[in-house]
């Protein structure tokens, strides 16, 4: 039986622990807040250097001029060719990745027996884990020569090669996120459709995919933001000539490839020419932020319509 004194003593001990508990809680809280700090740091750092750039080049010229020649005389600072390059390669990548990724997702979620899933899913994860420099190599040394055989006007560096290979790189992302969305659809809905006499492909296309649509669209939009931000494939296989063109078979330069080019070059830190990478960087950030915002808005809107599932 504990004596009154020892009972009083143990209470006091607990109060002291409470302080150390609080310290630990604060420390952990700080590490969680850190992630917000990082995002702000990214924004602030890039913006700070970009301001140096925009003090010398007007935003209007930046956004409307159609030539990007900061390294040549006369200098032009229009970002549109870089944006066009990025959009071209991302569009081709999406056109490749979405049908393949969705098809694979439907197959894995609605048709594949367990044995097949256990083989295919790891393969897709491997695809996702391959460093992008490897994809770049593949685009330059395998895909481009292959394309040249069928489309003789293709140049050594071109957007089509890079786009196709980037598409393959993105397939696992589209596939696994869409598959997650489809698996989340309750079996009870599938049973209801079967009980009405639907066949498997009708259950998949008329019930599962429409129900999982918000998740599927979100996965596509997220993949687009991944494509926009990708660096190595475009640096290796797409080219370093900024060009505003409608022909994907030519060489162009993407925003990320330009940053790579300058970073590896001889231009001194702090000059106007060097600060162009921060201006391009902030533009890239803005585009990715917008795309992610659309994805977020989209999932919110659709999940409201179909809430209750």
């Amino acid at each position: 039986m504990a004596s009154p004194e020892s009972r009083a003593g143990s209470l006091r001990k607990r109060h002291k622990e409470k302080l150390s508990e609080r310290i630990i809680r604060q420390a952990l809280f700080l590490s969680a807040i850190f992630s917000i700090v990082v995002l702000i740091a990214i924004l602030v750092t890039i913006a700070y250097q970009a301001i140096g750039f925009f003090e010398q080049v007007s935003i209007v010229e930046f956004l409307t001029e159609t030539r990007w020649t900061p390294l040549f005389q006369p200098q032009h600072f229009g970002v549109l060719p870089l944006v066009a390059g990025t959009l071209w390669v991302s569009a081709i990548a999406l056109f490749t990745a979405v049908p393949i990724g969705l098809g694979a997702a439907v197959f894995l979620s609605e048709y594949a027996p367990d044995r097949v899933r256990r083989v295919v899913k790891p393969i897709l994860e491997i695809l996702a884990g391959i460093p992008t420099v490897v994809y770049g190599y593949f685009a330059l040394t395998f895909v481009t020569p292959l394309l040249v055989r069928f489309l003789p006007t293709v140049t050594v560096f071109n957007a089509l090669s890079a786009g196709l290979v980037m598409g393959i790189m993105i397939v696992p992302m589209v596939s696994s996120l869409s598959e997650d969305a489809m698996i989340a659809v309750p079996d009870l809905l599938r049973e209801g459709a079967y009980a009405l006499g639907a066949r498997r492909h009708e259950v998949a296309t008329r019930v599962v995919v429409p129900t999982a649509l918000s998740g599927i669209v979100a996965s596509i939009i997220l993949s687009m933001s991944r494509a926009v931000g990708e660096t190595m494939i475009v640096s290796i296989a797409m080219g370093s000539t900024p060009r505003l063109t409608l022909n994907p078979l030519e060489s162009m330069q993407a925003m990320t490839a330009y940053i790579t080019q300058i970073s590896l070059g001889e231009i001194p830190f702090g000059t106007l020419e060097y600060n162009t990478i921060f201006a391009v960087g902030i533009t890239l950030f803005a585009i990715v932020f917008l795309v992610n915002l659309v994805a977020y808005w989209f999932t919110r809107r659709y999940s409201e319509l179909y809430s209750g599932l």
């Binding site: 809280f29 969680a32 850190f34 393949i100 695809l127 190599y137 395998f142 393959i168 190595m232």
Partner: protein
């Protein structure tokens, strides 16, 4: 009437078969692409594999060129990234899963982690450039690179740690509380030990991501031509993907083969790390069960 009905039925069945073939085809294309990629790269690079590839420094002569400095750099970066990222990532995950109240700040933090994982890796490089290289005057050093990389893989680390924490059943925590344990005691003595395999796996995966990423390191200008072994975190460095990228950019055909060989080394290294991650997870899971 009956003929129209059977026509419709056969059309439905036909649609089903066509669609199934398309779905299987899509899956097949992905698998074929991976196979072609691996075979092509392996066949290009195999003739260039040799011991001196791993022990020599980079050189203008393709027959002499090696990955030595790149390998050192990659290992340094991976180790430092893991060391920096581990406490931050695990700490955040513990706070978010075990301590955080369900309020707007918490959802904001979660949303933020989601946003961070979508930021292109090269922008992390620009952050590293502005903050670590310039502002904190760390120069284009290994430590600047590792700090940058740690920020890049932080969201991944937080998510992996949180998933590991989730696998610990609620009942264990209640049992510990019922014995008079404080919250931190529950976390440190009950939850973390059980979640550790998942957390370690997450750390190794984060490190392997750090090895494969070139973009941030390019932005902070890891060197392309390094002929010394880095001995301190303040030294300049290069990493495997950058060395490979450099060789790809050289016009001589021989360097293409070297690049492919470098890719093989990189992929083998990644494979080894992932195997370690899986082994770790299995081994610890067995111990916890006992």
């Amino acid at each position: 009437m009956k003929a129209r009905k059977t026509g419709r039925k056969t059309r439905r069945r036909l649609t089903g078969t066509i669609l199934l073939s398309l779905f299987v085809l899509s899956t097949g294309i992905a698998i074929i692409a991976l196979t072609v990629l691996i075979i092509d790269t392996a066949s290009d690079g195999a003739p260039w594999l040799s011991w001196h590839l791993l022990t020599n420094f980079s050189s203008r002569d393709p027959k002499q060129a090696g990955l030595r400095s790149a390998l050192f750099g990659s290992i340094w970066i991976a180790a430092l990234t893991g060391a920096i990222c581990f406490p931050l990532g695990v700490g955040s995950a513990i706070y978010l899963h075990e301590y955080a109240p369900k309020n707007r700040l918490t959802s904001f933090i979660n949303l933020n982690i989601f946003n961070l994982s979508g930021v292109p890796s090269i922008l992390y490089g620009l952050l590293g450039l502005g903050l670590f290289v310039d502002l904190l005057a760390l120069g284009r050093s290994i430590i600047a690179g590792a700090l940058t990389m740690a920020l890049l893989v932080l969201p991944m680390m937080i998510v992996a740690s949180r998933e590991a924490l989730v696998t610990v059943p609620e009942g264990r925590r209640f049992g510990a509380y019922a014995l008079g344990a404080s919250q931190w005691q529950v976390v440190r003595r009950v939850v973390l030990p059980e979640a550790l395999p998942g957390i370690l796996t997450g750390t190794v995966l984060a490190m392997s991501r750090a090895i494969g990423e070139a973009a941030p390191m390019i932005a902070i200008s890891a060197l392309l031509y390094v002929t010394f072994d880095p001995t301190s975190p303040l030294d300049r460095f290069t990493v495997l993907p950058i060395q490979i990228f450099n060789w790809i950019s050289r016009p001589q055909a021989a360097f293409a083969g070297l690049a492919a060989a470098g890719i093989i080394v990189l992929l083998v290294l990644l494979l080894a790390m992932n195997a370690v991650a899986i082994l770790l997870r299995d081994r610890y899971q067995k111990r916890v069960r006992e």
